[in-house]
């Protein structure tokens, strides 16, 4: 892998887009700021170090006024519309900046609070979320409520001015670093499926909450089980209506393909740029045989094509949102497309290193394995296909 850390030229991303041109003042301002402030180095493989770097980087962004640009200015953001976010993430990728620490907060809970949260919750949580002073994790999936999210069993009941939460969540990303977990619970014990749920913000550092990191095949304990055993949170920390958590969750899900979604194509194209460099070096050094190198180059070209398609999908989402359209089911197209592409990039990224691409605890093998999560979390590819077939194409259930 190329270890140069300079900001890359925008041509790495493909043709200039006239709706988001290279010399757009927003791009220029952020690009200049990044050049002066980005750590611009590969994230460490060790997860604790990685998280620390991301936290520090988010702090830097925050101090520069560049954390959470999509948030309204009154909450510390820039009120950046979708197209500005699109440019924001492209510039981050070109600068090879790290990710931020508080993605579930900034991208999901924050916008949800802004839309449906009480004033108290907003003033209590939004500032610390933006600055990475307090970290948030998302507690939705359960062992028996994965693809079938409405099968949720975790329950919360009122006890005076508190909620008392019992149950188990799973696949909670980086819960071990989080101060709060936003938990979808069944608050009406008589309810079934989508009814009677509430979204609660629950402090993690209390006796009733146990976080068990689960090691992934990549070696990272990225996802966690979170056990709630009489865990407590204030009654007023319900986001949106009590017993109306499904509605709140739907508000939150619309942000899932929101700003974070705008970033994937550019990170991927930067990665392809690195893979091309590795390929050139390997072919020049003779560590890749000519036939293998040629096959790899053609695969790289195929992946580049798909990244360009993903870039257009993301641009389409941005432009349509900019003009006030809902995205809806189209998100499933992007999600399915992205997950499979991520995986194949991970595979090629390892293969161009030959056998060395499979050595334990190295960047290429780590990316190869970590990419397998993309077709499972945030809705499996299978669920996305169901949605596309039934809701977009209208095939019978």
């Amino acid at each position: 892998m190329s270890t140069t850390t300079k900001t890359l030229p925008s041509s790495v991303l493909g043709p200039e887009i006239s709706a988001a041109p290279d010399d757009h003042p927003f791009r220029r301002e952020f690009r200049d700021w990044l050049a002066a402030n980005s750590p611009a180095r590969p994230e460490p493989l060790d997860q604790d170090e990685k998280f620390a770097l991301r936290r520090a980087w988010q702090r830097t962004l925050f101090e520069g006024g560049w954390a959470g640009p999509a948030w309204p200015e009154e909450y510390g953001g820039r009120g950046a519309g979708p197209l500005h976010q699109f440019m924001y993430y492209e510039e981050l990728a070109l600068a090879r900046a790290p990710y931020i620490a508080n993605t579930p907060g900034i991208s999901l809970l924050g916008p949800t609070l802004i839309q449906v949260g009480s004033e108290e919750l907003k003033s209590r949580f939004l500032p610390v979320m933006l600055s990475a002073e307090e970290i948030f994790s998302q507690g939705f999936s359960e062992p028996n409520a994965g693809s079938d999210l409405a099968a949720i069993r975790a329950r919360a009941k009122r006890d005076g001015d508190e909620w008392v939460i019992d149950g188990q969540k799973i696949w909670t990303t980086w819960a071990q670093y989080s101060d709060y977990c936003f938990v979808l619970c069944r608050t009406d014990p008589e309810s079934e499926r989508h009814r009677g749920l509430t979204l609660l913000i629950c402090p993690v550092d209390q006796p009733g909450v146990t976080v068990r990191p689960i090691e992934q095949i990549s070696g990272d304990p990225e996802f966690c089980e979170v056990f709630f055993d009489g865990a407590r949170c204030p009654a007023e920390w319900a986001v949106g209506g009590v017993d109306d958590g499904w509605t709140t969750a739907m508000v939150l899900f619309q942000f899932e393909r929101g700003d974070q979604g705008f970033t994937d194509h550019s990170r991927m194209l930067v990665r392809l740029h690195e893979i091309a460099a590795t390929l050139r070096e390997g072919a020049a050094a003779g560590s890749l045989d000519p036939a293998g190198a040629q096959q790899a180059r053609l695969r790289l070209a195929g992946l580049w094509v798909r990244c360009q398609q993903l870039r257009r999908f993301n641009l389409r989402v941005a432009v349509r949102q900019e003009s006030g359209e809902q995205i809806g089911m189209e998100g499933s197209v992007v999600n399915l497309f992205w997950g499979e592409l991520e995986r194949e990039i991970g595979e090629l990224g390892s293969e161009v290193h030959g056998a060395a691409g499979l050595l334990l605890h190295t960047e290429p093998s780590h990316e190869l394995l970590a990419a397998r999560a993309g077709t499972i979390h945030s809705g499996t590819s299978e669920i996305q296909r169901n949605i596309i077939a039934e809701r977009i194409l209208g095939l019978p259930r």
Partner: protein, 374 residues
């Protein structure tokens, strides 16, 4: 903010007009009638298309055109692909028109361009060997000059509408690495044309050979080959748009069939394994469509070095997607799908012949690979 990820209302209107015109003029039985005729097109429909201004759509107003762009032309082609439009639009209004616009000298090519733009002459482009897809954009025709007169010799390959075209616009080598663009009268001495139909009987092809055929030079030898590459790039985007239209229609037809066809006590559209395959097709075609309009955007905004790459992305993904979609559509139609009586097979065959036309996916990916390797 101009980008085709969201069409303008004017573009939507063009598309709407195109759809209703094409659906009324090219229903399936008309397309099948045309398959049996000698020329494979209908002069009346061609005249109407010219009257609608489509033959001049991507020609700038200052050159006598309608002043829209290749983007609007892609919208027309996408709609044409949906109905398996049969006629010389691609050969004359895209390939020949672009060659006259971009390669020919403005003065030398003016008359021919005007005739192609108003539809009064149906022309075709001879370049790049079989189906304009060979490795050399110029192809194998050689031009020699004697006493101020040019003559062409050599194999022009398999040419779109090569038999019915009223004017041949021919790229040829002019000694060594030089290239020139020439007009040749199809009936002239030394022009041999032979009917050479492919399995796609909705589009006509012919072999064209020259043996000392008299030719009129249209270019002045400045950046001719470079401009010819631009013409072939635009042609690739155009046929890719057509392919996307066909692929989308194939999905619609398959969905409709799956809703209607019953087996084991209900519509086969309820079978999840089939649904998932349709979902993958939808994603693939949606992606190809974005690649096509992304390329059209790049062509129109003059995105420089990136243009050939995104053109290659458009043609390779549209080819792969159309061929795969129609193959799957045939399979999902079951027995009826591989009968000549059902239209889905016509789309499949259109796709198969489209794949090598203006460059195979492998050729295009090879170009991208080369650019990424630089």
């Amino acid at each position: 903010m101009t980008t085709t990820v969201k069409l303008s209302s004017e573009q939507e209107e063009i598309r709407g007009v195109a759809r209703s015109f094409l659906e009324s003029r090219f229903p399936s039985d008309k397309v099948r009638d045309l398959m049996t005729t000698d020329d494979g097109f209908e002069q009346d429909a061609w005249t109407e298309i010219a009257d609608l201004g489509w033959t001049a759509i991507a020609i700038p107003e200052e050159r006598g055109g309608a002043g829209y762009t290749t983007i609007e032309r892609c919208l027309l082609l996408e709609e044409m692909g949906r109905v398996l439009y049969s006629g010389p639009f691609l050969s004359s209004a895209v390939l020949a028109a672009d060659a006259l616009l971009l390669v020919a000298d403005a003065e030398l090519g003016a008359a021919a361009l005007a005739a192609v733009a108003d539809g009064s002459v149906r022309a075709t482009l001879v370049a790049g060997g079989d189906l304009l897809g060979g490795p050399d954009p110029v192809g194998e025709v050689v031009a020699t000059e004697a006493e101020g007169a040019w003559a062409l010799s050599g194999d022009g390959g398999l040419v779109l509408d090569g038999l019915s075209a009223q004017q041949l616009i021919v790229a040829a080598r002019t000694g060594g690495a030089g290239a020139g663009l020439f007009a040749v009268e199809p009936g002239a001495a030394g022009v041999e044309r032979g009917n050479a139909p492919t399995i796609d009987e909705t589009r006509r092809t012919a072999t064209v050979r020259f043996e000392g055929a008299a030719a009129t030079r249209l270019d002045r030898g400045e950046r001719t080959e470079e401009a010819l590459l631009e013409v072939l790039d635009r042609g690739a985007v155009a046929i890719a748009a057509e392919m996307v239209g066909g692929a989308r229609r194939a999905i619609e037809m398959t969905v409709a069939y799956m809703e209607e066809r019953e087996q084991f006590g209900g519509p086969i559209g309820r079978f999840q394994a089939l649904k998932h395959r349709l979902a993958d097709l939808h994603v693939s075609v949606d992606g190809a469509r974005e690649a096509v309009y992304g390329a059209a955007d790049a062509v129109e905004s003059g995105a420089g070095d990136a243009v050939p790459m995104v053109v290659a992305a458009a043609k390779s993904s549209a080819s792969d997607s159309y061929a795969h979609t129609t193959a799957e559509a045939v399979q999902l139609h079951g027995g009826i799908g591989f009968t000549e009586e059902h239209d889905i097979g016509l789309y499949y065959k259109r796709a198969l012949v489209g794949v090598p036309t203006l460059g195979t996916p492998l050729t295009h990916r090879g170009r991208i690979a080369e650019a990424l390797d630089a």
